[in-house]
């Protein structure tokens, strides 16, 4: 693989974490414009841990995820009773506050005669872990995808588990769910916590991939994009948001023909797609249809005795 492909594929992997984070909240019926905040928290926390405290990368990423989850739960509790647009705007306000706080925050220590650490609007440079440990770009890409594969695997398990059913049920109708005896508030905060951790894992990996972060990376654009990916790719399965990211970053990235017209074409296509498929390419109906196809094929064989002799 050439360098360029590796970097594009790595980016797709990392953005997928934020997209999955927004998707998880969508499952529980909440629209968040603010998942970029946890991406930022994960990036800064993990970056500080390796570059300033000398922690190993896995520990740093885990610590970033914990920080992201803690902040998400802290945000989740006061915003619990907000619905729809009010929740969306509250998360937006929170994320922008986080971004501005990072713009104001300076925390640097001296390492080898050079100041290292977050430096306000100049960002946080010199997160040099991959260079200090001689990790090749390709290996780092594999690391991203290993973590992503585990995440996706657990999403698949989640979709089949009772927890997944509860999440979707709350998303469909929270009142009905609570009438069924489900502790809606607790599950919502729980979902928010996992979503925060997911975005933070993405952020931690991002900081080490690019070796620098700066506050404006984490503005509203990232949040709205990650929400859009789920809608484009489909809300029926966790592969949906991934498909959305691949379509946006991958496909358009590789098709250079459009150069200056890229967003004109892409924006129009997305708008048209949403008219035809308002819940995305891989929506619930399609996913269930495919599932039924498989089950029918299996039961069809046993019932009629057809199939290979």
């Amino acid at each position: 693989m050439d360098d360029y492909l590796v970097s594009v594929v790595s980016n797709i992997g990392i953005i997928s974490f934020v997209a999955l984070s927004a998707y998880l909240l969508l499952l529980t019926g909440e629209i968040s414009f603010g998942q970029q905040a946890f991406f930022a928290i994960g990036a800064y926390a993990a970056g500080i841990a390796t570059a300033m405290w000398g922690w190993p990368l896995p520990l740093a990423i885990a610590w970033g995820a914990a920080a992201g989850a803690a902040c998400a739960v802290t945000l989740g509790i006061p915003t619990l009773r907000l619905r729809g647009l009010q929740f969306a705007i509250a998360t937006l306000a929170f994320a922008e506050m986080v971004r501005i706080l990072f713009e104001l925050w300076r925390y640097q220590i001296d390492i080898d005669g050079e100041p290292v650490g977050p430096n306000g609007t100049d960002g946080f440079r010199n997160i040099r872990y991959v260079f200090d440990h001689n990790i090749e770009a390709f290996d780092f890409m594999m690391l991203i995808y290993a973590v992503l594969a585990v995440t996706l695997g657990s999403f698949m398990l989640l979709e089949r588990s009772r927890l997944g059913v509860i999440f979707r049920m709350i998303g469909e109708d929270a009142t009905l769910a609570s009438l069924q005896g489900i502790a809606v508030a607790r599950y919502k905060v729980f979902a928010a916590g996992i979503a925060g951790a997911l975005a933070a894992v993405g952020g931690g990996l991002y900081a080490h991939l690019t070796t620098y972060v700066e506050p404006r990376t984490f503005d509203v654009m990232l949040g709205v994009h990650s929400l859009a990916y789920g809608l484009i790719g489909g809300l029926g399965t966790a592969l949906g948001p991934l498909l959305g990211v691949v379509i946006d970053v991958g496909l358009l990235e590789s098709v250079r023909l459009f150069a200056g017209y890229r967003m004109i074409i892409f924006g129009g296509l997305v708008a048209l797609l949403l008219i035809v498929r308002p819940r995305g390419l891989l929506d619930e109906r399609l996913v269930h249809g495919i599932g039924r196809l498989f089950r029918n094929a299996k039961s069809g064989t046993t019932r009629t005795g057809r199939g290979p002799p």
Binding site: L82, R83, G84, P278
Partner: protein, 296 residues
């Protein structure tokens, strides 16, 4: 003390334009129960119409103002036709994401026409600030405030004294019932979009003429300021939208003066967040059902 009064006055002036943006948002949101993220970018497209006329044809101030409004209305109707009209009931979130995609499209279109980062915009008036005792008032700020109040009055009159307004209020109160009593909801929605874009066009023109420059970022700026002011003021309330805008303006100017630009934005978002958590209905709003979650 003088500084405090001066800042409050400045805040009210700036807040007037936020109030106008929130007003446009409120009209669209009230009618559709859906969020149009492209609202700011359509105003930006209008502003680019005006700027092209100003730069290449030497258009005068009034012609530029007209072009901004017309451009905003045209692109507003484009957004309505593409992102809102074809979406079935229950697809509110698809509409929102779709309007975001069109935002990206409009922004790139603007950059294609005028590729530089900033362009000049004709000033409203040139001349020194008016001195009223120890206070200074910029004449263009005064025009902005007057314009905002006039427009708000017109909107209020149109809503309560015309058939169009009656229909609009009926749809805002209950779209199904409005349809049952013979209101042509589809047509009304297009008209409401056009009206909201026109309001936004006027607001955009006033803001840009005060700043005397335009960038493609104006779209995002307008969407954010309008949204924040609307949420502070309360969903679906016209006086609330204006009040929210004024409050946002005053908070911004004071915190800017006290702590600088970054803390100003921090404060603005904090006020928004605090309002949402403590009083989700905003200053004057009621809790109206938001058709954002797909089951609403």
């Amino acid at each position: 003390m003088i500084d405090f009064i001066q800042n409050t006055i400045d805040g009210v002036m700036i807040g007037a334009s936020y109030g106008l943006l929130a007003l446009g948002f409120t009209v669209i949101f009230g009618v559709m129960r859906r969020l149009n993220l492209s609202y700011g970018p359509t105003i930006m497209i209008g502003a680019y119409f005006g700027t092209v006329l100003y730069l290449h044809f030497g258009a005068g101030l009034l012609a530029v103002a007209a072009a901004v409004v017309v451009g905003a209305v045209i692109s507003g109707i484009y957004v309505e036709r593409l992102c809102f009209a074809p979406m079935k009931a229950g697809a509110g979130i698809a509409s929102m994401v779709s309007s975001f995609a069109i935002w990206m499209q409009l922004e790139q279109a603007a950059v294609l026409v005028l590729p530089r980062h900033t362009y000049p915009f004709p000033p409203l008036v040139t001349g020194p600030a008016l001195e009223i005792g120890p206070l200074l008032v910029r004449p263009d700020h005064l025009i902005m405030l007057t314009g905002a109040l006039l427009l708000a009055a017109v909107v209020q009159l149109a809503l309560y004294r015309t058939r169009f307004g009656l229909g609009l209020r009926a749809v805002i109160a209950n779209p199904i019932a409005a349809n049952l009593v013979g209101v042509d909801v589809g047509r009304l929605v297009v008209l409401a979009f056009a009206a909201a874009s026109a309001i936004g066009g006027v607001a955009g023109f006033l803001v840009l003429a005060v700043d005397q420059q335009v960038t493609p970022m104006f779209g995002m700026w307008a969407t954010l300021k309008g949204l924040i002011a609307m949420m502070i003021g309360g969903l679906g309330s016209i006086p609330g939208a204006l009040l929210g805008g004024l409050l946002l303006g005053v908070v911004e100017v004071h915190s800017h003066w006290l702590f600088g630009p970054q803390v100003r934005d921090l404060f603005a978002y904090f006020v928004l967040f605090a309002f949402l958590v403590a009083r989700p209905g905003g200053l004057l709003g009621r809790t109206i059902d938001v058709e954002l979650s797909h089951r609403a």
